[in-house]
């Protein structure tokens, strides 16, 4: 993976089953709380390539 698209603040994400953040194409990055608890803080937009 190349550069990160952006570094995000957790307060700007929405909580539901997953932690989500909007991406420019209309889809959303998603990280589950379990992933966060395991220090996995990189997410991939389901519609395109960028990572956060």
């Amino acid at each position: 993976m190349g550069a990160y698209y952006d570094e995000l603040e957790i307060e700007d994400m929405t909580w539901d089953a997953e932690e989500r953040y909007p991406y420019t194409c209309g889809d959303r990055f998603a990280v589950s709380r379990k992933q966060l608890a395991n220090y996995e803080d990189i997410a991939i937009c389901p519609s395109c390539s960028p990572v956060i």
Binding site: E9, I10, E11, D12, P22, T24, C25, G26, D27, A37
Partner: protein, 459 residues
């Protein structure tokens, strides 16, 4: 014939072109009940097109039985109610639709006691939509429907409050509690919604408010996400520019509020020279163009999106991408100035250039920039070429083919988008009547209304 064309991101059918595939070139939109790839015959103009995450609203001017009115049509994702109650029911039964449907609010408005109002303005945040309504002798209104994740509905309810989904899910946004100089809007003689502009998670309305015996005032009110100061206020307890540390004890309880769930005062203006003539909203910032030609702003400068804006003069239009600000100058010919994030060539110029001028390759003698439109991370201009014909140029993020130029490479400098080398069938490329840029999408309205309208009105 008048045609609406779209290109770009299309995961939920939000381009209205009968597919759920991204379109890397411009294709005509289809409308239920009309021939494929055509606007309904009653349409005399497309007043506005706006995108949320995966839904689109189009405000159409129609002529029916010799009477002019407006209709709102929509397509794409309606699961959160962001395309209204009728579409939501249909979506639940049949999935999203990939062609525009008439959202037909008349029955819902009647049930809400809003019969006889005309829709004048549309807006969308991520999964929420707004309509401004007008009726002779009444105060203008704004209604909202869809998601309330960041207080987007503006009705004073928290994101977890499920009561917002009850009934039709259409809400009237109330401004009457807002007071200026000791006078509340509740006591005003008239309230007119001049404009409604939306960002990713916040909305701002400009109101003309008249109190008895007083000159009109302009009052800007906003609601939704405010943590970065985009609504002008940052709560003392928030830490807007710190990146959260993710740890084993990751939060399991809701974080402190990061949004205003009901409208809050952003600015009130009494002198006409100070009035805001145009404004636009990004994710974390909001920018305002005043009648005097100067610019003010609220919110984040983390990506240089507001840096130096207060020094700008002689500006006639202003727009935001999510993380940038773009201005059209009053020069002859006009120029586009850009500042903000350049991670995908959004600035349309060298990042370190001394000038903010976007290099739109226009011949200074014969081409003029007419319209500026900004999407999530790309921008478009409509220019008039040497022959007097319209062209559309665009630059920036293009991952979903949203510039409509047949590929998905980002464009760090403006590319000619329209007319393309290969025109779609049955499309008159000129005149270009308007352009819009949305969430990974671009929209062009072109062609003539002649003939179609006459046929309709003579029926």
């Amino acid at each position: 014939m008048l045609n609406l064309l779209s290109a770009g991101s299309n995961a939920q059918g939000q381009l209205g072109n009968s597919t759920i595939d991204d379109s890397h070139t411009f294709r005509a939109c289809s409308f239920a009940g009309s021939l494929p790839e055509t606007l309904p015959p009653s349409v005399t103009n497309v007043i506005d097109v706006t995108n949320g995450s995966n839904h689109t609203l189009a405000l159409l001017e129609v002529m029916i039985d010799g009477k002019k009115s407006t209709e709102v049509w929509g397509c794409g994702d309606g699961r959160k109610g962001q395309l209204g109650p009728i579409y939501k029911r249909r979506h639940t039964d049949q999935g999203s639709t990939t062609i525009f449907q008439n959202l037909a609010f008349a029955d819902a408005f009647d049930k809400l006691g809003l019969g006889g109002y005309t829709i004048t303005t549309i807006g969308t945040t991520w999964e929420t939509s707004y309509l401004a309504l007008q009726k002779l002798g009444k105060r203008d209104l704004i209604v909202s429907f869809g998601s309330n994740d960041f207080g987007d509905l503006g009705v004073g309810k928290d994101s977890g409050d499920k009561t917002v989904e009850k009934g039709l899910g259409i809400h009237v946004v109330n401004f009457s509690h807002i007071a200026v100089g000791g006078k509340s809007i509740r006591s005003a003689q008239s309230v007119t919604v001049e404009k409604l502009r939306t960002g990713q998670r916040h909305a701002i309305a400009s109101l003309q408010v008249v109190w008895a015996g007083k000159e009109p005032m302009q009052i800007l009110v906003g609601w939704g996400a405010f943590r970065h100061g985009q609504l002008g206020t940052v709560p003392p307890s928030s830490k807007p520019f710190l990146t959260s540390t993710i740890s084993k004890s990751s939060p399991t309880t809701p974080l402190e509020p990061t949004y205003h769930s009901r409208p809050t005062l952003i600015m009130s203006l009494a002198a006409p020279s100070d009035f805001v003539t145009e404004y636009s909203l990004g994710i974390h910032h909001s920018v305002f163009l005043h009648a005097s030609g100067h610019v003010s702003f609220r919110g984040s400068n983390r990506k240089n999106q507001t840096q130096g804006l207060d020094a700008c003069r002689n500006i006639c239009d202003i727009k935001c991408t999510w993380n940038g600000s773009y201005m059209l100058t009053k020069d002859n010919p006009p120029h586009v100035l850009s500042t903000g994030s350049n991670s995908h060539g959004q600035l349309g110029r060298a990042e370190d250039s001394s000038s903010w001028k976007v290099e739109v390759p226009i011949d200074e003698d014969s081409k003029a920039i007419r319209t500026l439109a900004c999407g999530s991370e790309h921008s478009l201009v409509c220019v008039v070429n040497e022959q007097g014909d319209d062209e559309v140029w665009g630059w920036g993020w293009n991952e979903h083919g949203n510039l409509g130029v047949g590929h998905t490479l980002d464009a760090p400098a403006p590319l000619k988008m329209w007319p393309p080398a290969q025109l779609p069938e049955n499309i008159e490329p000129h005149p270009v009547r308007n352009v819009w840029a949305g969430t990974g999408s671009s929209w062009i309205l072109c062609g003539n209304t002649d003939g179609t309208v006459e046929k309709t009105t003579s029926m």
